[in-house]
Symmetry: C2
Subunit: 257 residues, 2 copies
């Protein structure tokens, strides 16, 4: 091997799960232990402490495409590179960003990255960790919507929520709102109020699986926009979703009209 024929490196796009290290898969833990470098948003890099002997490359959360290019460049040199996501990398996270970068690569980048072995390794995504803590609110057909209008028009989000309500899907909302985009959840509530009965169950799971986790379940007509922040996953029941004791569940069966 010499400088003109580098070893084939690997880029592993891994999901760390929602927070609790016990929710990480053994596959991801082994991949971290064998890696040489890790790229990711600052707070995800912090979660690697004690899990490997890694060179760390932390970056801000608006720099996904640059981060993906830098990780591919390093893997092309023969390194074993991690790209970190919280939750699952395929759900509103880094996996799509890596493939977007490959899709628009220059001919020079295509050639440079050709030897890189790319693997996506799943993790427990926030909505499924939240659902487990609540009971089984996603036990029937459901959908998963990112409420941020950073990368799509607000009108598309509203249309999706409206059609999902008409289809009587349960729904999980990611990124219900943030400091820079406070309107997401307020808009969603307006559509839900138009499409759903006032008693529809709305579940809030904040910092799920972490020591400061909070869970809250309310009927739609008692919900206010400020109940969700950027650390909250919101789960909207379907018309059949019920409470039994401390738990919320959606029945497996659905009635005939």
């Amino acid at each position: 091997m010499n400088a003109s024929t580098p070893a084939s490196g690997r880029l592993s796009v891994v999901g760390l799960g929602p927070g609790d290290a016990a929710l990480m898969t053994e596959q991801v833990r082994a991949t971290i232990a064998a890696a040489s470098d890790a790229f990711g948003y600052f707070p995800y890099i912090e979660r690697l402490q004690g899990l490997g002997h890694l060179q760390l490359h932390a970056s801000d959360n608006r720099e996904e495409l640059d981060r993906a290019r830098a990780a591919l460049d390093l893997a092309a040199l023969g390194r074993q590179v991690l790209m970190l996501s919280s939750g699952d990398p395929g759900v509103f996270a880094m996996a799509s960003a890596v493939f977007e970068v490959l899709d628009v690569a220059t001919p020079e980048q295509v050639q440079r990255w050709a030897t890189v072995d790319i693997a996506v390794q799943p993790g427990i995504t926030a909505m499924l960790a939240a659902a487990a803590r609540l009971g089984a609110p996603l036990g029937h057909d459901f959908c998963c919507i990112n409420l941020s209008d950073n990368l799509k028009p607000a009108a598309v989000i509203e249309k999706r929520i409206r059609l999902a309500a008409q289809a009587d899907f349960a729904m999980a909302f990611y990124n219900p709102c943030s400091t820079s985009r406070p309107e997401g959840f307020r808009r969603a509530l307006r559509v839900l109020a138009e499409e759903c009965e006032p008693g529809r169950l709305i579940c809030f799971a904040r910092n799920v699986s972490r020591p400061d986790e909070t869970l809250q379940v309310l009927p739609l007509d008692a919900v206010t926009p400020e109940m969700a922040d950027m650390r909250t996953v919101v789960i909207v029941g379907n018309s059949m979703t019920r409470q039994v004791g401390q738990h919320v569940y959606t029945p497996r069966s659905y009635p005939h009209a």
Copy 2:
């Protein structure tokens, strides 16, 4: 402690992941190791070999409610009981069945089960394992639909697929068909053909994460109903889903109309 005040037992409804033991979480592995009894469908019980010292209670896959009652009864005697699901217990699996049984419990059962601590522990569900192997086809808003009409009317399934297509969700189909219900995926394809362009990408992941895993990606107009069986998860791209090299991904961003 005496016979009239039994120890408080625990029922842990756990997800084993899609097949590969490395996709199990450390939480579930530890819960299995500490349990006394395990209930589940025969093939899931087989996956426990070497993971604990358990009394095994295997049953057929049409006996979910009886299985849940038996597990609660045993936990009420102070045992540490597992209820097994493949994938994630909250996605078309045993978690809802356990809460359904609690919801319709007789007063005598309510009293008997009152001391049981019930916990749901998430696992990697098949669609997210499949998405990771394919690339990132669920990287934008998506929905998850069980195509079996065992517990809901076929008309509800068709309506949901139609509205999901109109909302331009990516979709994951569970239980696309089975020997006893061969029509599920054929009906879904008919709706997709009416609502989507002929080149829409359809992904088939069969036995995902197992040694005999197969992956296939085709445009909608090349798909035939027999391409999916009960061991297949089908992922339907949205209108933006693309291939790059061997991978399929859905971009994070969505265009303005």
